[in-house]
């Protein structure tokens, strides 16, 4: 009896000692977003585990070791910071009080290669962000196309925020939150202006587009109230604002909507007082034919009977003519076109018979087999003589500007063309693959079709195509900037993380290429699920 007791006691003690709990992080799976790039690093943001795995890919020695950074709860999306390749922005929704974990505010985390450099926290659970072109500011709002993803009982779709990314977080100051006044609409998108000379001061604006209204927010004086300008009353219904252009030196904002025949010009002039802002907006409407589909601004140098000044060139949906609008006089000059384009790509380049770089435009329509070159300077005077048609071998579905002298046309089905904007010639490149995912980077055009094992690249100097076969099928790809060793990273299907690193300059140099497999379980024994 005593022996049995002794034995049972021993077992009981052992079981009591051995009753451990596994780290819950070891139970949770991965949910990786598309890969992102930092200077010399590739970043994999894991929504499920709220971590970022950062791996150096441009070092002289290959490594499979990942630095794991803890993110604020619920990462929603990420984007490299414009003009700052060493920073990645991650918008996180935060955590509501679910009775299990501590609630946490929403946040934007700024990642650097080795750390989370700063976290801007705010109470509103925004689901979209847009950067200014210089990467200085970040605008947060509720994207009406995905508000079903917003958690919580209530949210105000007109609440927005601006973060000064050059400044550290400061409660109540950075980010600056605001509820935009509106006429019933909700923000659809936002556009940042370049510095504009308004009321004697160079300042930057955020233009928030509602369906038929806009809000003008002076970012130089962010504490001042915004102007919300109603445009719809001047038309018969929704405008569906879709395009904004800024006048540059002149304090004008040009607006186009897909459901309006008018171009709206908002002039911002010095205020006579009586407002908190030192400028006031005024609206002008310009007729642009039926259904303007795209517009560009250019500076007419003038000559002959044509006065110099700012011009707006507009193409309309289904119309074989373009319109040049002089904002100063509201005069409209129509230019006959050989086809009916609906998109304009502005570029400054010379041409064979006139090597001097001038303001020109490429007109196109996705789905068409033709493009039209337009020399914008003197267009009102010379009309159709400034227009040149170029037929292609097959219809294209996407146009990508690679430089001021080179445009990529991705054809429907298979193949692509490189359009030399100076020579006005086309270099066809055949392919057996769907080329919808072409990525220009490191002086090459990279083609990494998903579910294929081959990756193609086209030298944009010599137009020489080449390809290599990888060891696994392609899932996604990202170009990694680096001054010394630019890379192109291709991910593969895997449950523990698998990608291949190619030399950005010499992709077919296998001595410089390598794969990394298992980075998601890096150090899993020592660090647990992290």
């Amino acid at each position: 009896m005593n022996r049995a007791c002794l034995c049972l006691t021993g077992f009981a003690v052992t079981l009591a000692i051995g009753c451990g709990n596994r780290d819950p992080d070891l139970e949770r799976g991965f949910d990786l977003m598309a890969p992102a790039a930092l200077e010399g690093h590739v970043v994999f943001v894991d929504r499920q585990r709220e971590r970022a795995h950062v791996l150096a890919v441009s070092d002289s020695k290959a490594s499979a070791s990942a630095r794991v950074l803890r993110l604020p709860p619920q990462p929603l999306q990420h984007a490299p910071r414009f003009e700052h390749p060493d920073e990645l922005l991650v918008l996180c929704a935060g955590r509501l009080d679910d009775g299990r974990k501590e609630p946490a505010p929403a946040a934007v985390a700024v990642l650097e290669s080795g750390r989370v450099d700063r976290v801007y926290e705010f109470e509103t659970r925004f689901n979209a962000m847009t950067q200014s072109p210089d990467g200085k500011r970040l605008f947060l709002f509720f994207d009406p196309r995905s508000t079903n993803t917003v958690e919580g009982l209530l949210f105000n779709p007109n609440e927005v925020a601006v973060i000064d990314l050059n400044a550290p977080p400061a409660a109540g100051i950075n980010p600056t939150l605001r509820t935009l006044s509106s006429f019933g609409g909700v923000p659809q998108s936002v556009v940042f202006s370049a510095p504009m000379d308004i009321a004697g001061e160079k300042r930057e604006l955020a233009i928030v587009l509602f369906d038929s209204d806009i809000a003008v927010w002076d970012l130089n004086h962010i504490d001042r109230p915004e102007y919300t300008i109603e445009l719809s009353r001047r038309t018969t219904g929704s405008i569906a604002l879709s395009q904004v252009l800024f006048g540059g030196e002149e304090p004008n904002i040009y607006l186009r909507g897909t459901a309006s025949d008018d171009i709206f010009v908002i002039n911002l002039s010095a205020s006579g007082g009586g407002t908190e802002n030192d400028f006031v907006p005024s609206i002008n409407q310009l007729g642009a034919g039926a259904g303007p589909a795209d517009m560009v601004l250019y500076d007419e140098p003038g000559g002959g009977e044509i006065s110099g000044g700012r011009r707006l060139f507009v193409v309309a949906q289904g119309s074989a003519q373009g319109s040049v609008i002089d904002n100063a006089s509201s005069r409209v000059t129509t230019v006959p076109l050989p086809v009916a384009p609906n998109r304009i790509l502005r570029f400054d380049a010379g041409k064979l018979e006139d090597p001097e770089a001038q303001q020109r435009a490429l007109l196109y329509a996705e789905g068409s087999d033709a493009v039209v070159f337009v020399d914008l300077e003197g267009l009102e005077d010379r009309g159709g003589r400034n227009v040149e048609l170029l037929r292609l071998r097959s219809p294209y579905r996407r146009v990508l500007k690679l430089s001021e002298e080179l445009v990529l046309l991705i054809h429907q089905g298979q193949g692509l063309s490189l359009l030399d904007l100076v020579q006005r010639t086309v270099q066809p490149i055949q392919s057996t693959q769907d080329l919808g995912t072409a990525v220009p980077a490191h002086g090459k055009l990279w083609l990494a079709p998903a579910n294929q094992q081959r990756i193609g690249f086209l030298d944009l100097q010599t137009f020489h195509p080449a390809e290599i076969r990888l060891d696994a099928t392609i899932l996604d790809a990202v170009a990694v900037p680096s001054a010394e060793r630019p890379r192109f990273v291709v991910t593969h299907p895997s449950s523990i993380g698998y990608f291949t690193v190619l030399d950005g300059r010499e992709p077919d140099n296998f001595a410089a290429a390598y794969s990394v497999r298992g980075f998601l379980v890096d150090d899993i024994m020592t660090a647990g699920g992290r």
Binding site: N2, R3, L6, C7, G10, F11, V13, T14, L15, I17, G18, C19, G20, N21, R22, D23, L26, E27, R28, G29, F30, Q48, A62, S63, A64, S65, A66, L470, D471, A472, P493, S494, S495, I496, Y498, T500, F510, A513, Y514, S515, V516, R517, G518, F519, L520, V521, D522, D523, I524, M525, T526, A527, G528, G529
Partner: protein
Amino acid sequence: MKRSLLSLLLVVIPVPALAQQPMATRDAALDPRIETPSAAVATGPVTQHWQASLNLDVLIRKDSSFDVLSDEDLEPALGASIGYAFWLTEALSLAPELGYAGSHTEGGVLLGGAIEQTELTSYAGYAGVSARYEIWEVFAPHARLAAGVARTEFTLDTQVDGTFEKADWLPFVTLGLGATVTTPDRLFQSRSGKFESLSVGLTLEGGYWASPALTATLESRSEGRLTIEQPSLGALSRSGPYLRFALVARL
């Protein structure tokens, strides 16, 4: 029937008592079924040189690295050992021993299914020495020191990427203190005096198992052209306390 009853009586009733019965008229010396007083067995202390045991070693893995293999902190190992006491006094004995212990642990699904299973298999052989001090006839505490090497194999099955394996030889040292409760001497002694020194018992021992960690790097069989960089999974601690439960036979 009568013969069966007689046999039972022979077992139950001491032989000298039976000899005093007036009914015992048969010549016991001529009947091999009847043990005579001249075959009386020896009494007193016995000498036990050999010891064999079947062991259940429960290794207690409190280190978080073991979470990859189990949601409990126990790694059971079954084994056997045999020892011979080459030096004996009335109470103290020193016995070298040889032993073997094998364990197999399987972890379930990890990381939401990214890892379908982990396995750790260990085959350990060791040699050691134990010092036993017999306090009472049925109770003897002991100390045991052993050293050996374990073939340790770690396997990781993934959902998509196949199976990764890592195997290594890991030396180890164990030091334990315990006690054994045995049957009294001569319990199994036969009438002919055989098995006089046999005793069986239970051992409970606690101690520490010290070993270098198993450092596992994913090693896959690359069939492609590119070199594959694979991260370290980290260090799987192989040290920790243990409890030994053993069935012991001494002879």
